[in-house]
């Protein structure tokens, strides 16, 4: 049985008269000792999912409004605050993005570590202190006995994050959630901290959920990846499978926005046009439709479910044999995935639902030419002899930033 099973999790934020649909039915599983990456851009719901799991959503605005989070047979969503507190820190630990603000500035490191240990185990202060020194050594803090009495501001960023990792692993939790653990750190330090995280979780057989917007981070660290967009999981696969052959247009787009050193010819970075959707409205259809170059008419109205690649009898949700699944009506072909754009003759991304066009264009029937004009993605001439053709960047016009709602 999986260590963690999230089933159809729904999280909404409600404030004076407005609702934000942060997470819209997310499901995944995690086996003991496994490392899973949650990847997506800001606002896709990856952090909210983990906060919801721990019961740490900002009250009173954030609420779990559907689904279950099964941890070890218990539904964390229905657990009492007392029981949740028992699990936090001891069974499930979490570290956050900014180590400077995540540590209490007026308490010493010793105080902050000892209180964690003593909150869950009956230990004397001395024993807790010894354990703290052990932990600091484990994370690579030199001369830990001296540093115990220090305050957070006396450490560098990387060291602080190591301290946070030490605190998180203090009680040997079975699951650790790391929410953008290296985003606030210098690049050189990032690698060190990630390596530390990886080594420690493997050594202690702790499952790890690594949340990040950076594909580079998950590439070396995780066994499986969930790609999230606008509160949905749009693709899930083992890391190897995902990078080798992405299926969802968003994933394809993500992979093509990263500059790669191993390309022979300097290729244009293909940005994903458009901006994330306004999550204040109830999601209708596929969330990625407005920005998708492969979209069909049905994409505007039906949100595709996660379907396995190829014909599969049973779906495996964890481990190295996990089924590669994606949520798309019209997935890119392998060539298109490699190229980063549709390659089918005469294919035009479906226009938004018809009525809108008529009002604006003013014609009774929409001529094919007019439909072409409103394509979000201008189709380049299929390149001859493999020479890349520059896509016309003028496709989307001005995006009104101000009119796009962003989820909190």
């Amino acid at each position: 049985m999986a260590l963690l099973a999230v089933e159809d999790l729904v999280v909404r934020f409600r404030t004076h008269g407005s609702v934000v649909h942060a997470v819209n039915g997310v499901s995944f599983e995690l086996a003991a000792g496994e490392t899973l990456g949650l990847v997506g851009e800001s606002g896709c719901g990856k952090s909210v999912t983990s906060l919801a799991m721990m019961g740490l959503l900002p009250k009173p605005a954030g609420r779990v409004e559907g689904g279950r989070v099964m941890f070890d047979g218990l539904d964390l969503v229905t657990l009492s605050e007392r029981d949740l507190r028992d699990i936090r820190g001891r069974e499930i630990a979490m570290i956050f993005q900014d180590p400077m603000t995540s540590l209490n500035p007026v308490l010493t490191i010793e105080e902050q570590m000892v209180e964690t240990i003593q909150a869950h185990k009956k230990t004397t202060h001395d024993d807790a202190r010894k354990r703290a020194i052990e932990l600091l050594t484990m994370v690579g803090i030199p001369r830990p006995e001296n540093r115990l009495k220090s305050y957070p501001h006396e450490f560098s960023g990387g060291m602080r994050q190591r301290v946070m990792i030490a605190i998180a692993l203090a009680l040997e939790p079975r699951l650790m959630i790391a929410d953008e653990p290296t985003t606030a750190l210098d690049v050189t330090i990032q690698a060190q901290v990630l390596e530390l995280l990886s080594r420690l979780t493997t050594d202690s057989d702790t499952a790890l959920i690594l949340i990040t917007h950076d594909l580079g981070v998950v590439a070396g660290m995780t066994q499986r990846i969930n790609v999230m967009y606008a509160g949905f999981v749009v693709e899930t696969a083992t890391t190897v499978d995902l990078f080798e052959r992405p299926w969802h247009p968003y994933t394809v787009g993500l992979l093509h926005s990263i500059p790669r050193l191993d390309e022979e010819r300097p290729e244009q970075l293909i940005p994903i046009e458009g901006v994330p959707p306004d999550q204040r409205r109830e999601p209708v259809g596929c969330p990625f439709a407005p920005r998708c170059a492969w979209r069909l008419d049905v994409c505007w109205t039906d949100n595709p479910p996660l379907t396995p690649v190829g014909l599969v009898g049973r779906v495996t949700t964890t481990g190295s044999g996990a089924t590669h699944r994606f949520a798309c009506h019209n997935p890119p072909t392998a060539e298109e995935a490699a190229a980063g754009r549709p390659l089918r003759d005469g294919f035009v991304a479906a226009a938004p639902p018809g009525t809108v066009i008529e009002r604006l264009v003013g014609a009774d029937d929409v001529a094919p030419a007019a439909a072409e004009e409103v394509a979000l993605f201008e189709m380049p001439e299929p390149g001859a002899k493999g020479l890349p053709v520059e896509p016309d960047a003028g496709g989307t016009g001005d995006d009104d930033d101000a009119s796009q709602g962003r989820p909190t």
Binding site: R88, N104, P105, L107, E154
Partner: protein, 334 residues
């Protein structure tokens, strides 16, 4: 931290000088003849000449100022025009009363203000918060003398639960050893008198403490709300600590910092408010000393006492800054 303290001390020096200049101006640079103004109706030819000499009014301004500074250094704050007693003596005699009153007011302000502020923060936007906000609003909007007389009327005259005025029932005849009524009654081993003095302290403390109470409540509420949104509070919860612990150790320890600063500023308000409170409650402290002097046109007393109050305020602020530096590890260990 030592550097910080020294820097603050040095910064205070020009302000002290500035104060002395201001009060000097108040006394020596009056529109019109200063001596006539100072003496008012008490002017006699002898007294006039004496004062003129004493103040060195025939000398150039800067010499007058230097003489003045010299006097201040010797703690010579002048003499009362009425009874020719040195101001400093009378101040020393009356100060304990004002200190007792201020202490009582501070107790009310902090003892009620901080819990109320925390309460309001934890029930933010709900009805307890609204109630506390209303109390706070009333505290800063109702003048001390209005509140004072209302309390006197209600609890002193009508309900007769508490003494309406004075520091102690005069018939109890306690000898003034330290000047602190609460101490002197105990020294005289009169427990009944002690409680009488304590009861006399209640109404004036509430009146004087009303404004600091209102402000401390507001600041505490704001500080707790701000700190509650900080990342480290989320970390504390993620570690599985009880809400109690999170509140006391993580939220309050940090929320204290701005509150301490505000308390220091409120002491100034207490000094100023004492003037009015002592008048309303017939409290024989420095505040009523100023008011009597105003009515007697004993202006030198007024200005000298203001100088003393301001100096005390400066010192208190300095102490508060040092306390803040001590409480904030980022400054303490820099």
């Amino acid at each position: 931290m030592l550097k910080y303290v020294v820097r603050r001390l040095i910064a205070a020096i020009p302000v002290l000088f500035g104060l002395s200049i201001v009060v000097f101006a108040f006394v020596h640079l009056l529109p019109g003849d200063p001596v006539a103004a100072l003496l008012g109706q008490h002017a006699t030819p002898d007294l006039t000449r004496q004062i003129r000499e004493q103040m060195g009014l025939d000398k150039p301004i800067y010499e007058q100022y230097l003489i003045y500074l010299g006097q201040l250094a010797r703690l010579d704050l002048g003499k009362s025009v009425i009874n020719n007693r040195p101001v400093i003596e009378e101040l020393a005699r009356r100060f304990p009363a004002t200190i007792e009153l201020s202490a009582g007011a501070l107790l009310v302000a902090i003892g009620l203000g901080i819990p109320l502020g925390r309460l309001a923060a934890s029930y933010a936007q709900r009805w307890p918060d609204a109630v506390v906000t209303v109390i706070s609003l009333l505290g800063i909007s109702i003048p001390i003398f209005v509140l004072g007389y209302t309390l006197q009327f209600l609890f002193g005259a009508t309900l007769q639960w508490l003494p309406a005025s004075g520091r102690i029932n005069p018939r109890l005849n306690i000898e003034a050893v330290t000047g602190f009524m609460l101490v002197d009654t105990l020294l005289a081993r009169r427990v009944d008198a002690f409680f009488d003095a304590l009861r006399s302290l209640i109404l004036p403390s509430i009146a004087l403490g009303s404004i600091p109470l209102a402000i401390i409540t507001r600041i505490t509420r704001a500080a707790v709300l701000d700190v509650s949104n900080e990342d480290y509070v989320r970390t504390a919860r993620a570690k599985g600590l009880t809400e109690r612990r999170v509140s006391d150790r993580h939220i309050m320890r940090n929320a204290w910092l701005p509150v301490v600063t505000v308390i220091g500023l409120q002491v100034g308000g207490l000094l100023a408010g004492a003037v009015i409170t002592e008048t309303v409650f017939s409290w024989s402290g420095v505040g009523s000393y100023i008011v009597n002097a105003i009515q007697d046109h004993d202006y030198l007393v007024v200005q000298s006492t203001i100088l003393v109050f301001a100096t005390i305020f400066l010192i208190v602020n300095l102490l508060v800054d040092i306390t803040y530096a001590f409480l904030n590890p980022r400054i303490r260990y820099s």
